[in-house]
Symmetry: C2
Subunit: 260 residues, 2 copies
DNA sequence: AACTGTGTTTTATTATATGAAACACGATGA
DNA sequence: TCATCGTGTTTCATATAATAAAACACAGTT
């Protein structure tokens, strides 16, 4: 066996990830075909995962789909994150103040991953969902996170970034991205100026922990008529207040916020 | 090997579930001790799970914790459920109408599991969280789900139920539970009259699919001063409207709702 | 009635996972 | 400063668990 980890676990995770991409369940033979496994092998792996609730078998047609155990484990995990717990009241206040949904995200590779979202009423449908990823280069949350990286890590991340023009405003090269990150450091907040979704603008600020490192970012997001250019500084102030409040709860002691 | 499924998968899931219960990470040796595995075995399983993002290693102290991949898989899964997608606008409307959080849940064993929660502003902190389970016998969501079971399944579920007195109002025996389910069938909606949390009342109604079976339930929940006894019929009407709307979206064709 | 494809079970085989041993390293105490 | 201890990591001989080929059961189709 080569040094590629435990084969059986990788096979099981292959099955899980294939099923996670399907709206309908898949049968044993189909799962076997897609994973390159013999159907009897797939069958035994499926049954073990089903026994534990990570996969469910539909009695009607015998197909397999993901089980609720993932939702449970995810929920348990998310609700044990101190950051998320401490952030709740500040995010709620931000929603009340700006009237738009608020988010909390952390950096993962070249993406930001939403770990909390507080909805607002009567707001437009947004891309954000807990658990979802958004590329760092074209999101306010991501750029706020990038602003906290040292130059070496920042350059490395920019080099790994695949630029894709989601809109006419999307940043498409490293130089522009670094300029944008520099602007975040100057203003203390990041802006997504319809860079990911037409008509949607976002404003984000970084969250620090007790070591002074940026561990997350907070944002408000909504229709460009509400999160308008003219209100950037005003809304930026609210977002920074929320982010600073969370930072202090996470042990941030530097009297200066943000620490750019 | 006995017929207990694939040992390696069970071992990996044991590790995952142990880590999901910890706020802090755990070290290799500690994980080995708690799972009965040799530390070198635990090490290899951990590394494979880490390689795939289901577990993360904290560089500072080398301990392991759950990774974001669970949140991602869970999110992908939840957002592929047609039921949840179709329910969104009805739940939002329910929140606007009643002013309290709205929930969607499905039955799993003797519990109801929340698969969607739409928050309201300025509402009290509730027990409900996406992914969390609540015993069916002492929740409106659960009783609405139970009301859709045939007598055989209903009796079986009641027999399997461990009754625990969460509050002075909690149902504590099978006879009272069956009476309560009967009342749900009469009124068309279920009530949690502070049966799980002091001061919190909930009202729920069943969601049917195209086969006419109950597949989920919808509820509103909040402070007993707002979800007061006097408003049961009024709020019950709103909840039934939301649940019926979702049912229709799921292909429910029976002109009579609910179909008790 | 025959055929086809899927799901399930059995079991001989062997490839993989295991764990014992050894090593590296950091923390601790004498 | 050095010895000890406990943890994390790696190696590798081997036991055993996982595999997949074969066979069977079953439902749907022609």
């Amino acid at each position: 066996m080569t040094d590629k980890g435990v084969q059986t676990i990788n096979r099981a995770l292959d099955i899980i990830e294939i099923l996670s991409m399907e709206r309908q369940g898949l049968g044993v033979t189909e799962i076997g075909n897609r994973t390159g496994l013999h159907k009897s092998t797939a069958h035994r792996l499926l049954n073990t995962l089903a026994e534990r609730g990570y996969i469910e078998r539909e009695p009607q047609n015998g197909s397999y789909r993901l089980g609720l155990k993932f939702v449970e484990v995810s929920s348990i995990y998310l609700n044990k994150i101190e950051l998320k717990t401490e952030a709740q009241p500040f995010l709620r206040k931000l929603v009340e103040t700006v009237g738009q949904p608020a988010h909390l995200a952390i950096l993962n590779g070249t993406d930001a991953i939403y770990i909390e979202k507080i909805e607002a009423l009567s707001s437009i449908r947004l891309y954000s969902q807990i658990g979802r990823r958004i590329p760092a280069y074209c999101s306010a949350l991501g750029k706020a996170l990038m602003a906290g990286l040292n130059e070496s890590d920042l350059n490395k991340l920019a080099d790994q970034t695949d630029f894709y023009p989601y809109t006419q405003n999307t940043i498409l090269n490293k130089a522009d991205l670094l300029k944008s990150v520099d602007l975040v450091r100057k203003k203390g907040y990041a802006v997504d100026d319809e860079e990911h979704d037409e008509g949607v603008r976002c404003i984000a600020a970084p969250v620090y922990d007790y070591t002074g490192r940026i561990i997350a970012s907070v944002s408000t997001a909504g229709d460009k008529k509400i999160i308008s250019k003219e209100r950037d500084d005003e809304i930026g102030k609210y977002v920074k207040e929320a982010a600073e409040g969370i930072s202090r709860r996470m042990g941030y002691t530097n009297p200066v916020y943000p620490a750019f």
